[in-house]
């Protein structure tokens, strides 16, 4: 049996890979997302975010009261291109996630 522990099951990111990112000096949620791909799969971080933040807090790399999750990307739930093709042409709206 493998002893690998998966933190992000969508993108197969293991605790080992996160340790590796920390060893290389990365220390924030956004950086670790972009180094390991954590949270970019179908669940969009709903499963793995807490584990990662818990780890950062326990290492003293994040402050439990101040730490933020990475920017949430729309849509909130996956939607088909077929359904979205019916969205009307309207003036561009501002806002949303960056």
């Amino acid at each position: 049996m493998s002893h690998r522990v998966f933190v992000c099951r969508c993108e197969d990111v293991t605790t080992h890979e996160i340790e590796d990112a920390l060893d290389r000096g990365l220390s924030t949620v956004e950086e670790i997302k972009r180094y390991t791909g954590l949270g970019t799969g179908p669940c969009q971080g709903k499963e793995c975010m807490c584990t990662l933040v818990g780890l950062l807090v326990s290492r003293g790399l994040a402050d439990a009261d101040a730490v933020q999750p990475f920017t949430a990307r729309p849509p909130a739930e996956a939607v088909t291109f077929g359904a979205l093709a019916a969205v009307p042409e309207s003036p561009p709206e501002k806002g949303g996630a960056s």
Binding site: L26, E30, G41, R73, F81, L84, V87, P92
Partner: protein, 406 residues
């Protein structure tokens, strides 16, 4: 645990003076830092200063498309060299770049677009790029899922490619640091000042209260470059433009090339992770209101447009789901050519901006040619052609690259 800071950090120690300070830790700044260290065999003192984390700008938000199919001869040749560098980059940088040469397939639906693709194919043939002009039916042989009704002609270049952008940026950063460059993150350059006392260098003032002197400064801040230039009274005509993009749920590999529908500026490819990554041209949003302000946000309008265009050309996409959408800044140059080289009035300030929607693919070759220029004194034709001074030249025609997408 030993933290090695091998990809830069917020507390990397800065020297008081450097030979070259690169402002901006995107793919441009980092590829240049790496090449400067490599070509000078570690002799140059090079510092990169990044306001946020390393992939926070356009370099962490783009589609990863890499192509030699351009309308301008010089761009074709530059990209042939860049793709050549990309082929060996995984080994050179010791990372997985997810570089996949599945080609680019361009579709033309109008007589103008058809003429453009025919001109491209002829030019590419002359230059030695393996682009082929294809009938719509032949395009369907490459991507059987396409609906090619109304398509007049297509071009295909099997050497064109896609990459997964994040890895690239980390790879360049790690190799630059390994060779002695200092990469300081979470620190912004607030102001640049010419050095007093007749030297042609600069003093850079940082958000941390520190300052650093440099013989040469490279402005590699992309869409943010306008503000930095203004701190020196420099006005250049590039401006930021929000470009939206999205990715789908992952699928088994089925789509080899990146497909571009020239009629609406739709592009889509399948990344090595399996997802469809796509964007489309959007109406202008009055970009030039304030060129120092960058809007990043996502719109429903984009998803609607994109979905209609995609379902038209690849109907099976109807049942595929969109997983995430985001945006990033294009750094738009008015003639479609980058703004690269010495700044009028400030010879030791090198501009490296205006790369619009194709700076990622050009970073490997541009970093190399700029470093060759600085370390070995080698000239390159783009350094005059893309010169920041060209806009003031009486013979300037304003004509540049015409195959810009998005």
């Amino acid at each position: 645990m030993t933290v090695t800071n091998e990809m830069g950090s917020a507390d990397a120690a800065l020297p008081q003076r450097a030979d070259v300070v690169i402002v901006g830790g995107g793919v441009m700044g980092l590829s240049t830092a790496y090449q400067l260290m490599r070509l000078s065999k570690g002799r140059l003192k090079v510092v990169v200063i990044e306001r946020s984390y390393l992939v926070s700008g356009a370099s962490g938000r783009n589609g990863g498309g890499v192509r030699m199919q351009w309308a301008d001869r010089q761009n074709v040749e530059l990209m042939m060299r860049s793709i050549d560098i990309c082929k060996g980059l995984a080994q050179e940088l010791g990372i997985n770049t997810w570089f996949r040469q599945g080609g680019y397939l361009f579709l033309a639906r109008t007589p103008q677009a058809e003429a453009q693709l025919e001109r491209n194919a002829e030019l590419h043939h002359h230059v030695g790029a393996p682009t082929r002009l294809l009938s719509p039916e032949a395009a369907r042989e490459i991507v059987p899922q396409l609906d090619v009704t109304d398509v007049r002609v297509a071009t295909y270049n099997p050497d064109d490619a896609v990459v997964f952008p994040w890895a690239f940026v980390w790879g360049y950063a790690a190799q630059a640091v390994k060779r002695g460059a200092v990469v300081r993150t979470h620190t912004s350059v607030e102001r640049i000042e010419p050095e007093p006392g007749g030297r042609d260098g600069f003093a850079l003032h940082l958000s941390t209260g520190e300052s650093i002197e440099a013989d040469t400064v490279i402005n590699a801040t992309g869409a943010w470059s306008v503000g930095l230039n203004r701190s020196l009274g420099i006005e250049l005509p590039n401006h930021p433009h929000r470009h939206e993009i999205m990715s789908s749920e992952p699928l088994k590999p089925f789509l080899d090339p990146l497909v571009v529908d020239l009629a609406c500026g739709l592009y889509f490819s399948q990344s090595t992770r399996g997802e469809i990554v796509a964007g489309v041209s959007m109406p202008s949003e009055g970009d030039d209101a304030d060129p120092t302000e960058i809007n990043l946000g996502s719109s429903m309008l984009f998803l609607g447009r994109l979905s209609r265009a995609l379902c038209r050309v690849m109907p099976i996409a109807r049942s595929l789901k969109v997983l995430r959408q985001w945006s990033g800044p294009y750094d738009v140059s008015p003639d479609g050519d980058a703004i690269l080289g010495r700044t009028p009035g400030f010879p030791n300030l090198i501009q490296m901006c205006g790369f619009t929607g194709h700076g990622f693919m050009m970073a490997p070759v541009v970093g190399e040619l700029v470093a060759r220029n600085l370390v070995q004194g080698k000239d390159h034709p783009v350094l005059s052609r893309w010169s920041p001074g060209r806009f003031d030249d009486p013979s300037y025609t304003g004509r540049g690259e015409t195959m810009i997408i998005g």
